[in-house]
């Protein structure tokens, strides 16, 4: 259990979230719940990303009082995944907003949130 570091815990959490998200995507019949599944999946990925950028016992990559300006390379965590996750979050937000909008529109047209009711197009 000595391996069980912070980053590994978060990583596993992320993976589990991803799996739960997929489970939700694949099993839930309600459109809103499917979207929620997606956000879980997305969030899981973000957590994974952040975990990967973590370096043991270091602080956020912002040069302030807690960081030695001359030894930044050894005192901050990797800024790149953080930058990436920022982008990813925004993208996820956009996608989620879109999904919800579509769901709203579909609901307005057919008054149903059941995904099985939207299979007119097939084969």
């Amino acid at each position: 259990m000595e391996n069980l570091n912070l980053e590994i815990i978060t990583l596993i959490t992320g993976v589990i979230l991803v799996l739960i998200g997929i489970w939700g995507l694949l099993t839930q019949k309600n459109l809103i719940k499917i979207v929620i599944g997606f956000t879980l999946f997305d969030t899981g990925i973000h957590i994974i990303m952040v975990s990967i950028g973590y370096v043991k016992n270091r602080t956020a990559p912002i040069i302030d009082q807690s960081v030695n300006i001359n030894d930044v390379g050894n005192s901050v965590v990797d800024p790149v995944p953080q930058a990436l996750v920022l982008t990813a979050i925004v993208i996820g937000l956009g996608v989620t907003a879109l999904m919800l909008t579509y769901v709203l529109k579909m609901y307005q047209k057919r008054k149903s949130l059941e995904i099985n009711n939207y299979n007119d197009l097939k084969w």
């Binding site: 997929i22 994974i48 579509y102 197009l121």
Partner: protein
């Protein structure tokens, strides 16, 4: 030059500024957007031009003033510029096409549209893997926005499915990217490539995730239900963009990240590609909705591209050329088809019949369909050729076979669709408006296809010698399509005459074999064109397609290498397809013709590919030195050619195709076209004469030929449709030719040549005459005719001479063939085959009698009492042919002697000895001229005698016959014609039960049922599609990585 970064700036600037115009004049916003698109196109175009002409070096664009890997960099090279230009041009045209929609829906859609193309542009240029992800997302989100252009429930739900599927896929991509970052410590693709992550534990998985996500973006079968729904629900203008532009970008991305995966990726991609190609096309078979069909086809084409990328290790430096050819054909043709779908606006493919109200659109559609299937002169033709050749060179036979099968299946539904467009009933279909802004983009892409096709052709040395001038002539004829038929007819005749003048003399000097065929093709072409004067009106589209066929035929003759031969072959197939489908009820028959031709062509292609394997040459001589797999190669080529000669088993297309064709088309496709197959066989057999495998093959071929002759003739005997009867007769006659060739002796070949010439003449005579009669009486059914001898004596004489010649009764030329045949058979020792052929020959009397008596003898029908003699324009060519026939009959040595010399080059032994007009073989002798004189003199003497004896005979009318003390009632009940060989049918009819038709129908049913069953996986439920994606990932992972 304007830097590529300005593409981004312009697009974004435009998109952001469009917000200002929300309430302003929408025309202005549209113009603004169009300008942006045009500018983007201009930037990419100028780079392309620079790369092509000015040896421009590939450049890197660094952003933020730092070098990679620290900042994001873009790359602009030749490949990028090609893809950018393609995508941007499609975008520009799509914008023009979507003018009404974009204007109506407002600036948001314009923003989305511009941003989609901006996204695609950056996706292509970027060298940063995360940046790739971001712009892929932009593209997908923009696509999702465009899908809901019309806000319908289907579009919205398709959009939802799309967005959730791409959401999952990009999630996977993101995991992969972050893991790659973890393992590689960089996001710069060039750095990542150097690290060979695939060998790092975990790194391989990361790479796999990226790869599979990109592949999933390309919609592999079967994890692509969401994409199909999108294609179906989205506006066709958007479908075009997705199919042409987005997919192209996706392919480029795949190519970009492939080096990360390393060589092991090729195999996966190839396999995924081929599964997609086959699966998607298979399911397309059952599809009857146009947009969705296009979707299947798009995915299939992308599958083919994936396969090509996957086969890179074997294709070597040809990969780019092949992929480019396939991609450009796919992109332009698919965009064009989608746009056409928007114009025609018909949900079901049968509704496309409406398109032929606008001939231009029909021509465009034909262009796209043929480009997709890979006919010349489109880029895909050359690409496919190179692909197959390279695969064969690398011994990838199974890949080769699968690719051809997939292409074939694709051809099935595309041509069925095209057939609907040309022939399905369109009376009750709604009108559709034509807008200039919609037609122009379609026309531009079509023109682009031809142009690029021409230049791709130039890129292959073997294709560069193809003579394009005749094709230009055809284009001119096509441009003159508005002229009345007789003008075009004259031009066509002049054209063919000039063509003959330029090429025939040389062949006469040097190559009698080709001389014979070129004379059949060109002189036959001129003669059949003369009959065209009988047609009034404009005969739209007839002349270009007929000329295409003739040019194809001549190209086959002129071919010096395999590619040229195949080029001509495909050209001829295309032209004849159009000719055949012109018939009133020809839809199904033309399809079946096309399928058999296409199947045959692919077999030939495969055969050629295998034949040239390891010989480093494409010259026709490679056939001489086939060493490996000779049996398979020769069989493939042979079956390919036999589809054209309609040999048993492959003949079911012929009766309908020839029977339902127009009156002057039937002789073209029967008397002339079928000889192409014969020529192919001759070329093949000449080349493989020394090959040990040929012996066993020709033995089978001999039996096939004999049985074909029997079944063809027997089938003809039971026909009620005059033209079908002649068509079956052609099957039989071609059976003789094949039989003669299969003997592989001097006399056997001479027989085949004689039959070839004879069949050309008498079948042209018969088809022309019967066709002309049909034009007059308005029916094909013989039992509805009768007694026409009094109305059409010239036609009767022509048919009489034709059937005497065909039946082989001395003294006309048919006997020449028969005599040679039996001498050959006995000398060869093929007694049973010979007996079957003889039996077939006698059965010919049954149908020939039926043909002439049912039509010309017996009782004249009520409604034919006023019909006139057949048109003079038919009589002229018919009687020219009759003169030829008579000369050949009276002086057979004129042709047989030089032919003997040709054949002697290959079979020196056992030829004919000529002593003046007396031909002798080791066992028989025959003097054609003297027999003609003897029979003629005797006949004239006896005729005179009888005429003197019965000079006073009273001429009576048709009901003045012995009728057992009664009198006849109506001509119909007195004319015995329907099913007159019923007794014969009872005894031998089992031989002509449609076993073979049933077999092919059964095959077709199986394939269609499979397609119908498999496509149920596309349940329409978005969740199922998600499950497919996840399952796909897991399955691919476990198959390839464990």
């Amino acid at each position: 030059m304007v830097g590529p970064i300005y593409i981004i700036a312009i697009a974004l600037g435009t998109a952001f500024s469009l917000g200002f115009f929300k309430k302003a004049n929408s025309n202005f916003s549209f113009a603004f957007m169009l300008f942006a698109m045009a500018f983007m196109t201009f930037i990419s175009g100028q780079w392309l031009y620079a790369f092509l002409t000015q040896q421009q070096e590939t450049i890197q664009i660094f952003t933020a003033g730092f070098k990679p890997p620290f900042s994001i960099s873009l790359q602009m090279g030749l490949h990028e510029s090609v893809f950018l230009s393609l995508i941007n041009i499609i975008g520009l045209l799509a914008a023009i096409y979507l003018y009404d929609q974009l204007k109506e829906k407002g600036v948001q859609m314009m923003m989305i549209f511009v941003l989609l193309f901006m996204g695609l542009n950056v996706v292509i240029m970027t060298r940063d893997i995360f940046n790739l992800f971001v712009f892929l997302e932009i593209a997908s989100i923009a696509t999702a926005g465009l899908i809901i252009l019309d806000k319908s429930i289907n579009a919205t739900s398709a959009g939802f499915k799309y967005i959730i599927a791409t959401g999952i896929i990009s999630g996977i991509l993101l995991i992969g990217i972050i893991a790659i970052y973890y393992f590689a410590g960089s996001l710069f693709i060039n750095d990542i490539i150097k690290l060979n992550l695939i060998y790092v534990k975990g790194g391989a998985v990361a790479v796999f995730l990226v790869l599979i996500a990109i592949i999933l973006e390309l919609k592999p079968f079967p994890a692509n239900g969401w994409a199909l729904d999108v294609y179906e629900a989205a506006h066709p203008g958007i479908g075009a963009v997705i199919s042409a532009a987005s997919a192209s970008a996706g392919i480029f991305v795949l190519a970009k990240i492939l080096p990360i995966v390393g060589d092991s990726g090729y195999y996966i991609i190839g396999l995924i590609g081929i599964i997609t190609f086959l699966g998607s096309n298979l399911l397309g078979l059952k599809q009857d909705r146009a947009n969705r069909l296009l979707g299947y086809s798009s995915i299939g084409q992308i599958g083919l591209l994936l396969t090509i990328i996957g086969l890179t290790p074997y294709l070597g430096d040809k990969t780019l050329f092949i992929a480019f050819g396939v991609l450009i054909s796919h992109a332009l043709a698919k965009a064009g088809l989608f746009w056409l779908a928007g114009i025609v606006n018909s949900e079901y493919i049968k509704g496309w019949a409406a398109i032929r109200r606008k001939p231009l659109l029909l021509v465009l559609m034909g262009t796209f369909i043929f480009a997709l299937v890979g006919f010349p002169p489109f880029p895909s033709f050359f690409a496919k050729w190179e692909l197959i050749m390279q695969l064969a060179n690398n011994d990838k036979i199974i890949w080769l076979a699968l690719i051809l099968i997939g292409s074939f299946i694709e051809g099935i539904y595309l041509f069925r669709w095209f057939g609907y467009a040309i022939k399905e009933k369109n009376e009750d279909l709604p009108e559709f408006p034509i807008k200039l802004n919609k037609v122009i983009p379609v026309s531009i892409v079509a023109a682009g296809l031809y142009l690029i096709g021409y230049y791709t052709g130039l890129a292959i040395p073997e294709a560069a010698i193809i003579n394009y001038i005749p094709l230009i002539f055809i284009v001119i004829i096509f441009a003159l399509d508005f002229l009345p038929a007789y003008v075009k007819n004259s031009i066509s005749i002049l054209g063919l005459a000039y063509y003959s003048y330029t090429i025939i003399p040389a062949y006469f000097e040097n190559d009698m074999l080709r001389f014979i065929f070129v004379v059949i093709f060109l002189i036959g072409g001129i003669l059949t064109f003369i009959a065209g004067y009988a047609y009034k009106g404009k005969r739209r589209g007839f002349y270009p397609v007929a000329l295409i066929m003739y040019v194809g035929l001549v190209q086959i003759i002129q071919a010096e290498n395999l590619l040229q031969f195949f080029f001509g072959w495909e050209l001829m197939t295309a032209g004849s397809y159009f000719l055949i489908i012109r018939g009133k009820k020809s839809m199904a028959h033309a399809l079946s013709y096309m399928l058999f031709s296409m199947g045959g062509a692919y077999l030939i292609l495969a055969g050629f590919a295998l034949a040239q394997q390891g010989q480093m040459s494409l010259s026709l001589d490679v056939l001489n030195s086939i060493s490996n797999n000779a049996f398979i190669i020769i069989s493939l080529l042979m079956i390919g050619f036999l589809t054209k000669t309609a040999t048993l088993g492959l003949h079911i297309w012929l009766p309908g195709a020839h029977g339902e064709a127009e009156s002057d088309v039937s002789p073209m496709v029967s008397a002339i076209l079928l000889k192409a197959g014969v020529f192919g066989l001759i070329i093949l057999l000449i080349s493989t004469i020394k090959n040990i495998e040929t012996v066993s093959i020709v033995y089978i071929l001999g039996w096939l030929g004999a049985i074909t002759a029997l079944i063809g003739n027997l089938g003809a005997a039971f026909q009620e449709d005059a033209k079908r009867l002649l068509a079956y007769s052609s099957i039989g006659q071609l059976g003789y030719i094949v039989f003669g060739l299969a003997m592989m002796t001097h006399l056997g070949w001479l027989t085949a040549f004689t039959y070839t010439i004879n069949h050309f003449m008498y079948k042209a005579i018969l088809f022309l005459t019967i066709g002309a009669v049909v034009l007059r009486v308005g029916t094909h059914n013989m039992y509805e005719m009768g007694g026409l001898i009094k109305k059409m004596p010239f036609a009767f004489i022509a048919v009489l001479i034709g059937i005497i010649a065909l039946s082989g009764v001395p003294p006309l030329s048919g006997f020449t063939g028969k005599w040679l045949l039996y001498n050959a058979v006995i000398l060869k020792g093929w007694y049973f085959q010979g007996a079957i052929a003889f039996f077939a020959g006698i059965i010919a009397f049954l149908y020939l009698f039926k043909l002439i008596s049912s039509i010309f003898l017996g009782q004249l029908k009520d409604n034919h009492r006023n019909v006139k003699e057949i048109s003079i324009w038919f009589i002229i060519p018919i009687y020219i042919l009759i003169i030829g026939l008579m000369i050949f009959a009276a002086k057979p040595e004129l042709i047989l002697q030089p032919m003997g010399d040709i054949v002697a080059q290959y079979f020196p032994d056992g030829g004919l000895n000529w002593d003046g007009g007396l031909a002798t073989t080791p066992i028989g002798n025959w003097h054609g001229t003297h027999i003609m004189i003897i029979v003629g003199v005797m006949f004239m003497l006896l005729l005179t005698w009888l005429v003197v004896l019965s000079r006073k005979a009273q001429k009576v009318k048709q009901f003045n016959i012995v009728y057992s003390g009664e009198r006849p009632f109506t001509p119909e009940t007195t004319h015995i014609s329907y099913n007159i060989f019923a007794g014969y049918n009872k005894a031998l009819g089992f031989l002509v039960m449609p076993w073979i038709t049933n077999f092919w129908n059964f095959m077709s049913d199986i394939i269609h049922d499979t397609a119908g069953f498999v496509r149920r996986i596309y349940s329409g439920n978005g969740q199922t599609y998600l499950a497919h994606i996840i399952i796909y990932i897991v399955v691919v992972y476990f198959v390839f990585f464990n």
